[in-house]
């Protein structure tokens, strides 16, 4: 864990930074200033944030330094800056979910994960850009701005948690939180070359996460190493009475177990799912996948063939279930209690005008689709049938994970695509979710980890899938891979470009 003393703060791991604050080697203020300065150089170019909060962050950092001076024990994220996706409530801080309908909204409470982060002495530094209400795979559906991929500014960072992925990749923050409904943490993590974890459904309380599709939504961390990913997960996981789906089975991972290696561990490979993607699967991703299988074998893992026969139905299933739940969840945006109001005659006119003006195209499309799928005469054929197929998909995963300890599969069919490339064809955008959605429907944990770069220097990530409440095994596999090929140690040129370089 020891690093050269002259290593720039912004390249340091969260674990090392927190340890240095606890030991007094560095102050929380010094660390926070370093990341804020980095973000000053790049955030406007990358458009990673919807709201930055440097003053508040420095106040919080000062309070942590005072705590240490007073001899109080500090938490596991002592003085470590963290960026928060804009669909997670932070008390008193604008929270828009990337939507015009919530412009000006300041939540009167902290989400559960924010309470946990503050209790661990982390420093919240801002709210990151995302697709409107987390609906999208490129962050182009934000009503406010288009975030750029730090590795290639003409490409998307992925989505919907694109700002959270890009800000960590650009070393503007060592850590961030996103939310993952159908891949919204894992896909941008892969596009930006960082780690992104979707915990088991029920592992993290969603209290204070703006609901999109409640049977799928999970909050998860982004980081630049397997250990840092585990460090955040350990802080945010566990039971919270305010989210009845959160479960006590979600327990912290002992970080030292990640160093044990993977000798004898069974890694299941569902090859048929690659064929489903067909020509859509980029040769560079296929090659990275095959190389990773060999690397894990060399590290001692046993590769096991497994099948996910119903995974090919996952996209169709998801695009019925998620919009159906969204159409119901988004009914609350009616211009009465918060956000924007457009008066138009009577109450109904006001509802229709407010929602018509406040929601963007993708959100409207999904509300319409969900309303259709739930409407009289179609419920059984669409929503109920999709829920039955979901049962089959989940069973596939549990069977495959009985024959193996974790699964390895791609997370995205291609590296990051160009800005504007898929905005005219919603179905084409949906089809790029082919590898992320199955694990979401199954409710099992899944981790996107960086493995390599393509010929043009774009990051490639792959995905591990674990048994319910076993995030540790996936992180152990990723850590074993990381020890041999640390793809996340490379940073994009934008980090060191410009005056003074990284400090």
């Amino acid at each position: 864990m020891s690093a050269p003393a002259n290593r720039p703060v912004v390249l340091e791991s969260a674990e090392t930074l927190a340890a240095s604050v606890r030991s007094g080697a560095r102050s929380a203020v010094e660390i926070t200033r370093a990341f804020l300065a980095q973000a000053d150089r790049t955030a406007a170019k990358l458009e990673t944030y919807l709201h930055r909060m440097p003053d508040r962050a420095l106040q919080d950092a000062e309070a942590i330094d005072r705590k240490r001076a007073a001899g109080e024990a500090l938490g596991n994220l002592a003085g470590v800056p963290i960026a928060i996706k804009d669909n997670i409530c932070v008390r008193g801080v604008p929270t828009t979910c990337g939507s015009k309908i919530l412009e000006g909204y300041r939540p009167p409470y902290d989400a559960h994960v924010i309470e946990r982060l503050r209790a661990a002495d982390a420093v919240v530094i801002g709210k990151t850009n995302c697709d409107e209400f987390a609906m999208g795979s490129s962050t182009e559906n934000s009503a406010y701005r288009i975030t750029k991929n730090p590795w290639a500014l003409d490409r998307v960072p992925g989505g919907s948690s694109g700002g959270s992925a890009a800000t960590v990749a650009a070393c503007e923050a060592p850590l961030s939180l996103g939310s993952d409904t159908g891949g919204s943490v894992r896909q941008p993590a892969a596009f930006c070359g960082v780690y992104g974890l979707k915990p088991t459904y029920g592992a993290v309380s969603r209290y204070g996460l703006v609901a999109f599709a409640s049977s799928l939504d999970q909050i998860g961390p982004f980081a630049r190493s397997a250990r840092d990913t585990a460090l955040v997960q350990n802080v945010i996981c566990g039971r919270d009475a305010r989210d009845t789906t959160s479960r006590a089975e979600a327990r912290p991972i002992d970080l030292e177990t990640l160093e044990e290696g993977i000798s004898g561990l069974r890694v299941g490979v569902p090859r048929s799912i690659l064929d489903e993607a067909g020509d859509g699967l980029a040769p560079s991703v296929r090659a990275a996948f095959e190389a990773a299988i060999s690397a894990l074998e060399r590290a001692g893992a046993r590769i096991v063939d497994v099948a996910l026969p119903h995974a090919k139905y996952a996209i169709a299933t998801y695009y019925l279930i998620a919009p159906a739940e969204a159409s119901s969840n988004l009914a609350r945006y009616d211009g009465v209690r918060y956000g924007v109001r457009r008066p138009d005659g009577d109450l109904r006119g006001m509802y229709e005008a407010t929602r018509g003006a406040g929601f963007g195209r993708e959100v409207k499309r999904r509300i319409l689709l969900g309303t259709y799928a739930l409407s009289a005469g179609y419920y059984d054929a669409y929503y109920l049938r999709a829920q039955k197929v979901r049962t089959l998909i989940r069973k596939d995963f549990l069977d495959a994970l009985a024959a193996s300890d974790a699964l390895l599969l791609p997370i995205t069919p291609t590296p990051a695509f160009k800005i504007g490339e898929k905005t005219d064809d919603p179905l084409a955008m949906y089809l790029s979710d082919i590898f992320s959605i199955p694990a979401s429907l199954a409710g099992v944990p899944a981790l996107s980890f960086p493995v390599s770069f393509d010929a043009s220097g774009l990051p490639i990530g792959l995905q591990l899938v674990g048994r319910p409440f076993d995030e540790g095994t996936m992180l152990k596999v990723a850590r074993a891979y990381e020890k041999e090929h640390d793809a996340a140690s490379r940073v994009p040129a934008i980090v060191t470009a410009g005056e003074g370089g990284a400090r």
Binding site: P108, Y201, Y319, L347, K364, L368, K388, T391, P426
Partner: protein, 95 residues
């Protein structure tokens, strides 16, 4: 699967969502394309399969003790309202 603009109008009304007339045609086309794609589920035999509405099976819904605990402060909850009248949210006339 072709979707008629009259269907778009009907579901938009159900969702209390105003769609500009110029946009109806495009939504109809896009919904038709997505619904055509999800048709593949009809080919699957799901007889006797239980639906999954939540992946927390095997776990009883966790209940909390029925105790009085702090709720949202009224002023804070009302602070974000587009229009308020004292301690109430104000809406346009209903009847």
């Amino acid at each position: 699967m072709p979707i008629d603009v009259s269907v778009v109008r009907k579901i938009a009304a159900l969702a209390r969502l105003r769609i500009e007339a110029a946009e109806e045609e495009r939504y109809a086309r896009e919904l038709g394309s997505i619904l055509g794609f999800v048709e593949q589920l009809q080919a699957l035999d799901v007889s006797g399969i239980e639906p999954t509405s939540q992946v927390t099976e095997g776990a009883r819904p966790a209940l909390r003790p029925d105790e009085v605990c702090p709720s949202d402060a009224r002023d804070e909850a009302l602070a974000g309202a587009p229009e308020r009248d004292g301690d109430y949210f104000k809406v346009p006339q209903v009847v």
